[in-house]
Amino acid sequence: MKFYVCIKQVPDVDAPIQIKDGKLIQDTDRMVLNAYDASAVEEALVLKEEHGGEVEVVLVGPDKAKETIRKALAMGADKATHIATSGDEDYDSATYANILATFFSDKEYDVISCGKQSQDTDAGLAGSMLGEHLDLPYATNAVGLEAEEGTLVVKRQGDAGQEIIGLPTPCLVTCSNDMNEPRIPSLKGIMQSKRKPVEDVALSDLDIDESSLQPKTKVTGHMEKPEREPGQKFEGEPEELAQKVATLLDEEENVI
């Protein structure tokens, strides 16, 4: 099976951040492989190990994103395509989906995997946008994948239950991190990743006119979320604490 996994480099949400003039400034500039995409890579590798095939990762992003491509190759992906951008664009999910759709228009594959959302923005849009552009059957929020002849079987976490969906290939799926624990690259994997092919593609190679990439949505500012103040903390005898808090919830808060 030929897998393409769309991977994105995102700021580490665990790193300290500040807001200056409405812009997000990360003290360490720590960028990581989107956690949901790491799960998509992992699952593609597992299916390749079971059924054979090839795993190629595709990333749209600036030069700095090469390190994220290396990470996926070190995990075990066979090769990569890097669609380069300048780095000062403010693309939204739709713009990335448009670029990826153009890239995939002349490619052959069984499965395109995406993450279910970007860890920094939680938008959760690019995957199904890409599916629609390419007119592929798709499923989102996958928590498990299995391959059958000509069919990808997706376990999807729906509103209440889990839906088991058979998608005829070629198809597209967006992956939840509840699917697996992505492997940590081994030293050998890291060494090998340096020799794996990374194809550089410019937007102009895809016949994309950058001025046509005007996003319809824009982020105009950021602000700290009004933080919750820590309330009262009680230590002591369990019985007393239990009684005190239960009474407060009833009499002060009226939520019992």
Partner: protein
């Protein structure tokens, strides 16, 4: 005058409250800006829900009724939504942010060449479109966003707006729908674990959430008992859903559900940012944790430092007394 259309989601035979919250806000926006608020119900028995939706004051209610909508499947839903957009020509199309909405929102936007903002916590109209706030960076930060164009899709987090009833005089327009089996390439083989009587966490007034600290059977029993005394929904951290101890649909947080109950009791949960992202909009947060430095205490209104196995039994007794 433009149309502000709201999608009314139905699940387990009930209207999702989050869609009525969106409809309430859309109707207020329509009134303030001389637009019209309309609603659409897509369901196997869509007409059953018309009377309830009328209460929230849309001027037109579209129904799309077909047995195919018994279970969620993205292809038929997308086809219905595009038909509805052709018919109603909405300027703004609003959705409650359910898992089913997340499944189709991007595809619908791509199909309609519409601007889209997902999972916003508030939005207003501007001259060019909408401006909206969205939590980002695991909900530590709020971003300001604008979406511009003549077709804008927006999905709204549950609990963002209060329900508000309005003038109940709506026209009902049934939209003809059919779909051929050959159009649906995906097959829905089975649905596991959906049970009708579970409390919907997105709508629950009270939630008892269990973390790794409560992972054994005794812990689970205590959680169940506490939830039953309070008539609460049960939620979980990823530690428990990942371990297969709790049903995956109960996960609360960045990957899981976003909730906003009146009372959230976190038991044996450390308070990682990805968990907190899903519950910080709760009105009152109670945390029970034996580690006095657990980050959950930074956001809890009432923190009980102690062993949950010792704290919960007297806590449950006390609540029983209060409930009397």
């Amino acid at each position: 005058m433009s149309t502000l259309l709201t999608h009314i989601a139905i699940s387990d035979g009930k209207i999702k409250r989050s869609s009525l919250e969106v409809l309430s806000h859309m109707r207020q926006l329509a009134e303030a800006n001389r637009h019209t608020a309309e609603a659409v119900i897509i369901d196997a028995e869509a007409s059953n829900y018309v009377d309830e939706v009328k209460k929230y004051g849309p001027s037109t209610i579209y129904t799309v009724e077909d047995p195919i909508f018994e279970n969620h499947m993205n292809t038929p839903l997308l086809k219905a939504l595009t038909k509805v957009m052709d018919e109603a020509e909405p300027y703004i199309f609003g959705f409650g942010s359910t898992e089913s909405t997340k499944d189709i929102l991007g595809a619908l936007a791509a199909n309609q060449d519409a601007a889209v903002l997902s999972d916003v916590s508030e939005f207003e109209l501007t001259d060019e479109g909408i401006e909206a706030k969205r939590p980002v960076m695991a909900a530590k930060i709020l971003s300001d966003n604008v979406a511009e164009g003549d077709r804008i899709l927006v999905s709204v987090r549950s609990g963002s707006y209060d329900l508000d009833e309005g003038d109940a005089d709506a026209d009902v327009v049934d939209i003809d729908f059919s779909i051929d089996d050959s159009e649906i390439q995906a097959t829905l083989r089975e649905i596991i674990g959906a049970s009708g009587d579970k409390i919907d966490l997105a709508e629950a007034e009270t939630i008892v959430a269990a973390g790794r600290g409560a992972k054994d059977e005794e812990g689970q029993d205590l959680i169940n008992e506490l939830a039953s005394v309070l008539n609460a929904g049960i939620g979980a951290s990823r530690a428990l859903t990942e371990a297969g101890i709790m049903d995956p649909s109960l996960q609360i947080g960045q990957t899981g559900k976003v909730v906003s109950p009146q009372l959230y009791i976190a038991v044996g949960i450390s308070g990682a940012i990805q968990h907190v992202a899903g519950m910080t909009n709760s009105k009152v947060i109670v945390a029970i944790n034996k580690d006095p430095d657990a980050p959950i205490f930074d956001i809890a209104d009432y923190g009980i430092v102690g062993d949950l196995y010792k704290v919960l039994p007297p806590f449950i007794e006390e609540l029983k007394k209060i409930k009397g």
